[in-house]
């Protein structure tokens, strides 16, 4: 949270709110950020002690009344509860912070300044002022500050200013990651425009926009609010209809760019390349105004997205109400099994304090099924909490839009007191300000953590965020390293616009929109300027589409092999009876979600994506919506539809799969040589270890590759690789697990076809010799090896922005490809989006985190919160894994090794 860190104080758990023992002050990461939150007045003096707003602890007595309730008193209740208080490992109080104000920048029109003042903005927050200044100076800007810090204003002002300056000639395009966001913003923007009295119009353009309005908004929309999907499939391919917009395009505003990572982000980055190409064709060079949650390297992410380095504004000048963070670790029920109380059960226990009629509470779960289970729990308990069952609602993706709108407006009006949700409510859909957030498990990324936390306390009142740690390595890591949460972001965003699959699909779309030329066409010959501004000089040059060296080659391929393009001289023209954007999904997956229908009424009740379908709507699966249970009766795999019947089920289902990984090609490799017995090697000082250097290693050692299996490089200790793999996932069986007790009440087979995946993987290989030195070859070796892989997979989200579910694992004790113990961690999207490269780069961090998790765990011989339960990892699993990690981390770092291109074909 670089840049938005106020001084904070740590409260002794056992002590009361008056115990202000350790004011830790500023973390010193990022000087800019620190400076920003230190306004001239000095934060220390401005802040009341934590005891300052301390409420009457007896406020809890009025809990069941409908009176408004202060979050601070709820925190006190939690601290006072004899049963719960010991479970809180940390109360972190981020004190209120005054705003850091600045005068309006020079360039803003008095009219606009007046409008600001009428709205009560006498001054701007420092980050808003800086962002506006930079934007008016013609820079690309990325504002990365906390949720609710007024980022919207920072890009609204330059856009309005451009409209005033040009008398409405300047157009802008705003992109939001969800439809709901754009609807929200449109209303507020129109308020501004009306106030300024300009004859300008802003319109939302999405799938709901009626055809009759579309023509109007194309011709007269000064500000178009839309989303990446509409841009990709509707606007860009029909750019001639939007010629006015593109010719006048001044700003491209993109909200919440931290959500643009992975496949989706990589597709969006290419979509923006297409956008720029088209704008240039019509003679415009728009600037980008980006906003984001805080990021590890915002400039790099911005550059990945827009192809230019934006100016980063990360000094948050907004004021902040007091926030209390409570870190809750469920009690260890069985130290031998390492079993902690279930986080969902803990959430249920907490609900008696954090839910009530006098305030609004939001629960964030990480799984859709958890949403359903918890909603059901709380609805059942509602009368005891002074709530009506209708005041408790679930909300998640997969609900039909109408139901979602209903819950949203219920939250806004205050009619809904408790909502249980997933990340569906994480982004800025306006549901008003809530009071208490309970995170049932770490959401998987710092950005998400802060977004979820930002859902509460918008009114500058005290707010409470409780995070319940699960029996999960990352959660347990955070319990033992809570500062991770409050420090500067440490995750990298995976973004690879030049991913060949994505690039080639996007090049199809781009070529449909405008032809490509090997070089920019000579001005005057091929493209004589008829109307001046309509012709940009370099439009369509191949080099304008990112820096991949393969653009020419892909275009040739699309022309000669695939027949989509017509290559003519040094140009490529779209030449097929097709509309490519229709077939290219920004999410990377095929648009073939499975829709679930009610067997009785025939109504659609929800849907799941293709990948998820084989494990969630197989026949016999229990599908849950808002606490209701449906049993899937029939899954028509071919036609992507499932039929379910409503049942009263006392169990839910959990499906298992078998995974097979085949290596297609290896790309990068780092390795180190063995030195004598491993036991000694690991203790050798570094200088004694010979490096296998990338350059010199080529001649002296055999090139690794597919032939490796036969002729094992005897001098090698272990290697990490990146490469391409083919993964086959077969669903095998599903377990029936009883609600509440989580008792396994049976299992049945699943009969469905396999899902096939071509992707990139990070591989870890250990030579047979080293493996036997580490006793990996005796006893439960396979189980321990798998446990280690699982742990690495699960701690990966500490360093890359992904869910651990985005990574697939295959642990093989003797890989058929490498002939030795191998771990594959693969990107679970077609083609991969660079996660494997980030794993490769940060593998040492992963090993360290994994070791820390094992070291810090209180369990005896392994548990779900570290390596896995002893039944899964074997009796010697923990020792084996610890020895492996110690071995990997001791001694020399790995050195890059040249990796021969494997031309191997999949078959």
């Amino acid at each position: 949270m670089h840049g938005e860190l106020p001084p904070r104080s740590q409260l002794d758990v056992a002590g009361g709110p008056s115990n202000d023992s350790s004011s830790t002050g500023h973390s010193s990461t990022g000087s800019a950020g620190s400076a920003a939150s230190g306004p001239a007045s000095g934060p220390a003096t401005a802040l009341p002690g934590p005891a300052g707003p301390s409420p009457d602890p007896r406020a809890g007595g009025a809990r069941r009344s409908r009176r408004r309730r202060d979050a601070a008193s709820i925190a006190d209740d939690l601290r006072a509860d004899p049963e719960l208080r010991d479970r809180f490992v940390r109360f972190e109080r981020l004190p209120a912070r005054p705003g850091l104000m600045e005068a309006f920048p020079q360039g803003l029109d008095p009219l606009l300044v007046e409008a600001f003042k009428r709205r009560g903005h006498r001054e701007l927050y420092s980050h808003q002022a800086e962002a506006i200044r930079l934007a008016l100076a013609g820079e690309d800007v990325l504002v990365t500050t906390a949720t609710a810090s007024g980022k919207t204003l920072a890009y609204t002002a330059p856009v309005l200013q451009s409209l005033i300056d040009t008398d409405g000639a300047a157009r802008s395009l705003w992109l939001f990651p969800t439809k709901a966001l754009s609807q929200d913003q449109s209303a507020s923007l129109n308020g501004w425009i009306e106030e300024l009295g300009g004859a300008w119009h802003s319109y939302t353009y999405d799938g709901d926009t009626p055809p009759s309005v579309r023509r109007t908004l194309r011709e007269r929309g000064h500000v178009i609010l839309t989303n990446p999907w509409m841009l990709h499939q509707g606007i860009l391919p029909n750019h001639a209809k939007w010629a006015d917009l593109f010719a006048g395009l001044h700003y491209v505003v993109i909200d919440e760019v931290h959500t643009l990572s992975g496949v989706f982000g990589s597709h969006v980055a290419n979509t923006l390349r297409r956008l720029l190409r088209i704008a240039r064709h019509y003679g415009a060079e728009p600037k980008f105004l980006l906003s984001s949650a805080t990021l590890r390297d915002p400039a790099a992410h911005g550059e990945g997205l827009i192809g230019r380095v934006p100016r980063v504004v990360d000094c948050d000048g907004s004021p902040r109400g007091e926030r209390i963070f409570a870190l809750h670790n469920p009690p260890m029920l069985n130290p031998v099994a390492g079993l902690r109380a279930n986080a969902l059960e803990e959430a249920r226990a907490l609900s008696r304090h954090v839910c009530g009629p006098g305030h609004q509470t939001i629960f964030f779960c990480n799984r859709r099924t958890s949403v359903e289970v918890l909603t059901r729990y709380i609805k059942e308990a509602a009368p005891r909490l002074g709530l009506k069952p209708d005041e408790v609602r679930g909300y998640r993706g997969g609900y039909l839009p109408l139901l979602r709108r209903e819950v949203e407006s219920g939250l806004k009006s205050g009619a809904v007191k408790v909502v249980v949700t997933t990340n569906a409510l994480e982004l800025g859909i306006d549901v008003g300000s809530l009071d208490v957030a309970v995170l049932v498990g770490y959401p998987g990324s710092q950005a998400s953590f802060w977004q979820r936390a930002g859902r509460v306390g918008r009114r500058g009142e005290t707010s409470l965020v409780v995070m319940i740690a699960r029996s999960d390595p990352v959660d347990q890591y955070l319990v033992s390293h809570p500062d991770y949460l409050f420090e500067a972001p440490r995750e990298s965003l995976g973004l690879d616009p030049d991913n060949l699959v994505i690039l080639s699909e996007q090049l199809k779309c781009a070529a449909f929109e405008l032809p490509f030329h090997r070089e920019a066409p000579e001005h005057g010959e091929d493209q004589p300027a008829s109307k001046g501004e309509a012709e940009g000089e370099s439009v369509g040059a191949v080099r304008d589409f990112g820096s991949s060296p393969h653009v020419d080659g892909i275009l040739d391929y699309l022309a000669q092999e695939a027949g989509f393009l017509h290559g003519s001289g040094d140009s490529w023209y779209w030449m097929a009876d097709a509309y490519p954007a229709q077939d290219v999904s920004l999410a990377g997956n095929e648009p073939d979600n499975v829709v679930i229908f009610d067997a009785e009424s025939g109504d659609a009740i929800g849907e799941v994506d293709r990948e998820g379908s084989i494990t969630s709507v197989h026949e016999g699966a229990i599908y849950q919506v808002e606490g209701e249970t449906w049993k899937v009766e029939r899954f028509d795999y071919e036609n992507r539809r499932a039929t379910a019947r409503r049942v009263e089920s006392d169990y839910f289902t959990d499906a298992q799969t078998d995974v097979e990984v085949r290596v297609l090609r290896l790309e990068e490799r780092s390795s180190r040589p063995r030195r004598g017995k491993v036991g000694t090697t690991s203790r050798l000082p570094e200088e004694e270890v010979e490096f296998e250097s990338g350059e010199s290693g080529r001649g002296s050692t055999e090139p690794p590759g597919p032939g490796l299996a036969g002729d094992v490089d005897r001098s090698e200790d272990y290697s990490v690789w990146t490469g391409e793999v083919h993964v086959t996932t077969v669903p095998t069986l599903y377990k029936k697990i009883r609600f509440y007790t989580r008792e396994n009440v049976g299992a049945e087979d699943i009969h469905l076809p396999a899902e096939e995946l071509d992707t990139e993987a990070f591989c870890l290989t250990l030579s047979e010799e080293s493996a036997s030195d580490l006793f990996l070859h005796s006893g439960d070796r396979g189980a321990a090896w798998h446990g280690l892989g699982e742990l690495l997979r699960r701690v990966a989200p500490l360093f890359l922005r992904c869910q651990s579910a985005d990574l697939g694992l295959s642990a093989q004790i003797k890989s058929s490809h490498f002939g030795r113990p191998t771990l594959f961690l693969y990107d679970r999207v077609q083609g991969g989006v660079g996660l494997s490269r980030l794993l490769y780069r940060d593998h040492r961090l992963l090993f360290e985190a994994a070791r820390d998790v094992i070291e810090a765990c209180d369990c005896v011989r392994g548990c779900p919160a570290c390596l896995g339960p002893v039944e899964e990892i074997g009796a010697a699993g923990v020792e084996t894994a610890r020895a492996l990690l110690d071995h990997f981390l001791s001694g020399a770092q790995l050195a890059a090794t040249l990796c021969a291109d494997s031309e191997e074909e999949p078959q």
Partner: protein, 589 residues
């Protein structure tokens, strides 16, 4: 224009790779399958933002499923794969040519190939159920990889192939490069179908304005119009679709000139469009078939893309599709140009290559393969000539005979019903009533007995519908009932209360035996009730009719707006009852 370069590159392509085939990219031809078009594009996750394709859909949807593009011959049994001569089997493709594509590392190519074939097989898998069975023995399915098979229809058995440039092309140098075109001159009395081209001169332009509901057409001179039809590389719209042939027809002294602009390659698009814009600007009016929804937008979009001012905005545009639909909709199996021209003007095409085959012909030409462009030129020519004779037909409908005195042909009753509706919408109720009456009369009326615009109508009350004239081929059922409704309401408009009342009551009885006629019956009863109450001073009758309507509406479960209607009826009934009550009490006192 760099013709050499193009030729060289084509030659290179030919050397290196005889038959590159576009893989199947889209499941169904969107323009071809208009009714399903929305589905084609719109099936997306509920919460995911729609993939709606901008603009074009709206336009197409407005066409309500029957443009010239819709249901083209061949669509129903479109060969789903190429013919034997279209392309070699995929196996003969050979290794990747050692050309520029070799810049791409082999593994990248392998990856792309895997990706493309995965895409293809998924697509064909998902379409498997919808694909019609092969109905055409001359279009064998290739045994190769399905992803490589051709989606585009490529041949009919009748159209011969040629190679190289089509004949008769001439280049005109312009400042934007050469424009290539074929020009054909026709004498004004040349015959197309059963009509002479020059007959269009006798059109009454006000009927264009009336039927197209567009007053800007009222003064157009069909001899100063430009007749437009284009052939494109696809029906989807969007920047990547090219109009590779633009047919423009104009009348000159004693002649009709057909100019067919043609693209030798995509590079020439700009020069061609500039010339097209210039030619259109020289005309008073544009005449097309479904062109307001298709041709105009294709040209306009591409003109904007190239910085050329589109010439359409201030120019009257007669899109024949809509007026013809108004007159003859529902009479034949569809409203396509081909249907209209053959039914109304006896145009018979020989060896026609359906428009949906055009893209493949041009792609073949570009790739220097054998092609059927000659047939595309012919198809385009016939389209343009049909525009002229259909415009002539339309211009003659109010006379109901041709300038030569020949009968106009075509279903007279449907035509009269269409005219009645248009006149009614224009507020010309008296004339409308005449046509309405004609629509419901036996179709034997001689031209002399048909009403003429502007003539004083006969006394309205002497005309009543003849109940024995029912729906027939000349006025299909759906339109027949609507025509009777219109007729009754026109009687009301013309003040013939008693006749109108009879017509409504008769209609309510006649339609009640027809399936789905309940809604009309309810409406008719309500109208009759209104007349009884307000015009004829018979509230008892009104109450009775109201009761009937209420009863009828009560049994029509699926009716739109039923609950509101029922509430209305209840109110009306109550009011009438109260009025009668007070009437009685007044009478008693």
């Amino acid at each position: 224009m760099k013709r050499e370069t193009l030729n060289e590159s084509l030659a290179r392509l030919r050397r290196e790779k005889p038959t590159p085939e576009p893989p199947q990219e889209s499941s169904s031809d969107p323009k071809g399958g208009a009714p399903g078009k929305g589905d084609n594009l719109g099936v997306k996750p509920v919460d995911q933002v729609d993939s709606e394709i901008d603009g074009e859909i709206d336009d197409m949807a407005a066409g309500k499923g029957a443009g010239k593009s819709i249901g083209k011959p061949g669509d129903a049994h479109k060969p789903s794969s190429l013919t034997a001569e279209g392309a070699g089997p995929t196996g003969s493709r050979g290794p990747i040519p050692a050309s520029k594509a070799s810049d791409l590392p082999a593994w990248v190519q392998a990856k792309l190939k895997r990706r493309l074939s995965a895409e293809g097989s998924r697509r064909s898998q998902s379409q498997g159920t919808e694909r019609p069975a092969e109905s055409d023995s001359c279009a064998p399915r290739p045994s190769g990889d399905s992803s490589e098979s051709m989606a585009l229809p490529r041949a009919t058995p009748l159209a011969p192939v040629t190679s190289g440039d089509p004949e008769g092309l001439a280049d005109t140098q312009t400042e934007l490069g050469p424009v290539c075109a074929r020009t054909t001159e026709y004498a004004r009395h040349s015959v197309h179908g059963s009509w002479e081209l020059g007959e269009v001169a006798h059109s009454a332009a006000d009927v264009f304005a009336l039927l197209a509901a567009d007053s800007s057409l009222a003064a157009v001179d069909p001899l100063k119009a430009i007749y437009l039809d284009i052939e494109t590389t696809g029906l989807s719209g969007g920047a990547g679709t090219l109009s590779f042939m633009v047919g423009l027809g104009t009348f000159a002294a004693g002649r009709f000139d057909l100019w067919q602009g043609f693209l030798r390659g995509p590079e020439g698009e700009r020069a061609l469009l500039a010339m097209v814009a210039q030619k259109i600007r020289g005309a008073d009016c544009v005449v097309s078939f479904f062109g307001k929804s298709f041709d105009r937008h294709r040209l306009e979009d591409k003109m904007r893309l190239h910085g050329i001012d589109p010439p359409f905005a201030d120019r009257p545009h007669l899109d024949l599709y809509h007026p013809l639909q108004r007159l003859y909709g529902g009479v034949w199996r569809d409203g396509r140009l081909g249907t209209m021209e053959s039914e109304l003007c006896a145009v018979e095409r020989v060896d026609d290559l359906p428009g949906s085959y055009a893209p493949a012909a041009w792609f073949d030409y570009l790739a220097r393969r054998e092609h059927r462009l000659e047939a595309v030129f012919r198809h385009n020519r016939d389209d343009v000539l049909s525009l002229v004779v259909l415009a002539a037909h339309l211009g003659a409908v109010r006379r109901n005979e041709r300038s030569s005195g020949l009968s106009l042909g075509g279903p007279q009753r449907a035509r009269a019903a269409g005219l009645a509706k248009s006149l009614a919408q224009a507020g010309r109720y008296s004339e409308a009533l005449d046509y309405s009456h004609l629509a419901l009369s036996p179709p034997t009326s001689s031209p002399a007995s048909t009403p003429i615009f502007g003539q004083a109508p006969p006394e309205p009350d002497t005309r009543s519908i003849q109940a024995d004239v029912a729906a027939d081929a000349s006025l299909p059922a759906t339109r027949y009932w609507r025509a009777r409704e219109l007729h009754a309401s026109l009687l009301v408009r013309n003040g013939s209360w008693r006749t109108a009342h009879g017509a409504w009551v008769e209609l309510s009885q006649a339609v009640s035996t027809v399936s789905g006629g309940g809604v009309i019956a309810v409406r008719a009863l309500i109208e009759a009730a209104k007349l009884s109450e307000h015009r004829l001073g018979e509230p008892e009758r009104g109450l009775e009719l109201c009761r009937q309507a209420r009863q009828r509406a009560g049994s029509e479960l699926g009716m739109r707006g039923r609950s509101r209607l029922l509430a209305d009826l209840d109110r009306r009934q109550a009011r009438l009852a109260a009025r009668l009550e007070s009437g009685h009490s007044q009478a008693q006192s």
